[in-house]
């Protein structure tokens, strides 16, 4: 009898131990479950979001979800109101999860909280909800602080260590853009960058024509401008094209975050000798894996939990250093593209 008890006790202990170790190790969600998901980008019609969708679809196929994965989004000019409307609709449809690249700032927080209360999870990617309310967690492409340093370094290199530069951003309420610009300002305070002067931040709202005109406006306003830093894939192409069209590439260099496929010619002709980005396909892929694990209960969305994401390995949920109280999953890293590696990446 005693032996039996001892055995049972040992087994219990073992199970308990395994339970605790399992918590610390990456969990893998069982495939083939029903997860109805919506991938909601800032708006439709630009390449990075299509790539993210490709990644998400790849993950959905791999996990064999028996639910649906919808890729829907508003038009660029109706982005904020459109996202709120679509998140509301997704809640009505009782979708399991909405994967949101937020373009509505804190304006969407109330809707996201309502969604969570009704049982629809909200996982953000690419651009979070700034105050973190209503969000399960944020799948961050790269560490937002390190983007600031990379942008400051690229501006430093292209300006030759001294001179004026300006930022051409997307929309004033894009949380990711604002966080990166703030991080860059922080980096610029360093001794190395003391001769580098950030003269202006303008917004092209991720519309090609508006961004193009804003870039030209910057050149007019600041005759000594050396670099335009555009942390948006739409803005950087528009700015590079503007400088090329006006024959200004010798004088004003363009840099920022761009897609190799869209930037290859500007990179080779010297208008945009250096820019950076991460893989949006991977971001979509990881976001879907994380959302699937959350919906199926494999993870609860708490700090310290670890999960596997197929071909990308395992990831951990952690405190978001940029947003107190909010949680993130960090993807990283990113690549700096120059004329030496851009062609290979563009294909």
């Amino acid at each position: 009898m005693m032996k039996m008890k001892g055995l049972a006790l040992a087994a219990g202990l073992m199970a308990g131990l395994m339970g605790t170790t399992a918590l610390a190790e990456a969990v893998t969600a069982a495939p083939g479950q029903e997860v109805n998901a919506v991938l909601l980008p800032k708006f439709l019609g630009i390449l990075p979001f299509d790539q993210a969708n490709r990644g998400a679809q790849e993950a959905a196929a791999e996990l064999g979800s028996t639910g649906k994965l919808e890729f829907i989004g508003p038009t660029p000019e109706n982005s904020a109101a459109g996202q709120i409307e679509m998140l509301t609709t997704a809640t009505t449809q009782k979708q399991h999860v909405v994967m949101l690249s937020n373009n509505a700032g804190d304006q969407i927080a109330a809707t996201a909280e309502a969604a969570q209360a009704a049982g629809t999870k909200v996982v953000t990617w690419d651009s979070p909800i700034p105050n973190g309310a209503g969000e399960s967690f944020f799948v961050a492409q790269v560490d937002f602080g390190s983007i600031g340093t990379v942008m400051a370094d690229m501006a430093y290199d292209l300006a030759g260590g001294a001179g004026e530069f300006a930022v051409l951003s997307a929309s004033p309420d894009a949380a990711n853009q604002n966080a990166w610009i703030e991080a860059m300002k922080g980096a610029l305070a360093g001794e190395k960058y003391k001769d580098l002067k950030l003269v202006d931040v303008v917004y092209g709202n991720d519309q090609s024509e508006e961004s193009y005109n804003r870039a030209l406006g910057l050149v007019d306003k600041y005759p000594d401008l050396k670099v335009i830093m555009a942390p948006t894939t739409v803005g950087i192409v528009a700015a590079a094209k503007a400088m090329q069209d006006e024959g200004l590439c010798e004088k004003v260099k363009v840099s920022g975050l761009g897609l190799p496929a869209e930037m290859v010619s500007y990179s080779l002709n010297g208008c945009a000798p250096q820019f950076a980005l991460w893989s949006f396909v991977d971001l979509g892929y990881l976001t879907y894996h994380a959302s699937y694990a959350l919906v199926t209960g494999a993870i609860k969305g708490e700090v310290g939990e670890e999960f596997t994401a197929g071909r990308m390995g395992s990831f951990k949920i952690e405190e978001d250093p940029g947003r107190p109280g909010a949680k993130r999953v960090l993807m990283g890293p990113f690549t700096i593209y120059t004329k030496d590696n851009v062609e290979a990446a563009a294909n």
């Binding site: 019609g45 679509m86 449809q93 804190d106």
Partner: protein
């Protein structure tokens, strides 16, 4: 004339019922109470302003500044709350903003005699400029909970304050337009301002009243918009005037004035909101939604003319 109006609204009713039938059969979640509330609430500020725009257009005027007044009121409301003002006094201050904006439009249109298209176009740009100056390129939020609750949660059962206000205004403005002397004056002036003047109608006073009403209601809508979203930006409510005018014109109100009914506009509102909601529930993206509603408006402009043409040809033959 009355027969024509009747047939236009009859047509709207048919389109509305068709939309409803489509939604019910293809979107299982459509009939839930929460969805019916969402359907209105997601556009409630626009449809509130559309009610007063109906009177303005029937009066053969236009108010392009409504969305900028909404935006300005929303921004002022958010700004004052952030300065530590109470919600009530901040809302009152916004009404004052609306009143001043309305008086400005009223004086320039009714007393100075500048066409409302020009006056309100200028104000549309001007008021938008003020909003952008106040908030710059950021957003203003952090409202007290009771403000956002009032904007987002049910007041009477599941009906939020904004929706209650919409239905109250629908009835009140409907009665004002169709059942009072003032309403008759609005229509008469819209049909022919000179005739109205000669028959002793105080044209200036009627027009001035309408523009003040329009700006006041727009300011209220702006405050509701701020409360619903919980934060505002310089471009809040940007471009809403076009959606609002679209609803009114689809409702059968003549852009030349003198013709139109509140029932028609209400039906047009129902059609547009139900179409949008249904398409959203069927996972149709924003671009297509805009396209469908655009086509509907084109049809609504073309059809009356085509029908009119046919009738004249038949009459000749």
């Amino acid at each position: 004339m009355i027969g024509w109006l009747r047939s236009w609204e009859g047509g709207l009713l048919v389109v509305f019922l068709a939309t409803l039938a489509l939604n019910v059969s293809f979107a299982p979640e459509f009939l839930t109470v929460q969805n019916q509330i969402n359907l209105f609430q997601l556009s409630v500020e626009k449809i509130i302003v559309a009610l007063v725009m109906t009177l303005i257009i029937i009066n053969a005027e236009i108010d392009l500044s409504v969305a900028s007044v909404m935006g300005l009121a929303a921004v002022v409301f958010a700004y004052l709350l952030n300065q530590g003002w109470g919600g009530g006094s901040a809302a009152l201050a916004c009404l004052l903003v609306g009143l001043v904006a309305g008086l400005f439009n009223a004086v320039l249109v009714a007393k100075v005699g500048i066409p409302s298209l020009v006056v309100t176009l200028a104000m549309m740009i001007g008021y938008r400029g003020f909003s952008r100056v106040i908030v710059q390129d950021t957003s203003l939020g952090n409202f007290p909970d009771w403000v956002t609750d009032l904007g987002q949660k049910g007041l009477i059962g599941p009906l939020p304050l904004s929706l209650v206000l919409f239905f109250v205004l629908l009835v009140a403005l409907g009665v004002l337009l169709h059942r009072t002397g003032f309403g008759r004056q609005v229509v008469v002036i819209g049909t022919n301002a000179d005739v109205a003047r000669f028959s002793g109608v105080d044209v200036g006073r009627v027009k001035a009243t309408l523009f003040v009403m329009s700006a006041l209601i727009s300011a209220v809508a702006g405050v509701l918009y701020a409360a619903r979203l919980g934060s505002v930006r310089g471009d809040s409510a940007l471009g809403f005037e076009l959606d609002i005018i679209t609803m009114v014109l689809l409702g059968g109100v003549s852009i030349f004035g003198g013709k139109g009914s509140m029932v028609g506009v209400f039906l047009a509102i129902l059609i547009i909101l139900n179409l949008r909601n249904g398409m959203a529930l069927m996972n149709i993206t924003g671009h297509v939604q805009t396209g469908v509603i655009g086509s509907l408006l084109i049809l609504s402009v073309l059809l009356p003319n085509l029908v009119g043409d046919l009738r004249t040809r038949r009459a000749r033959a």
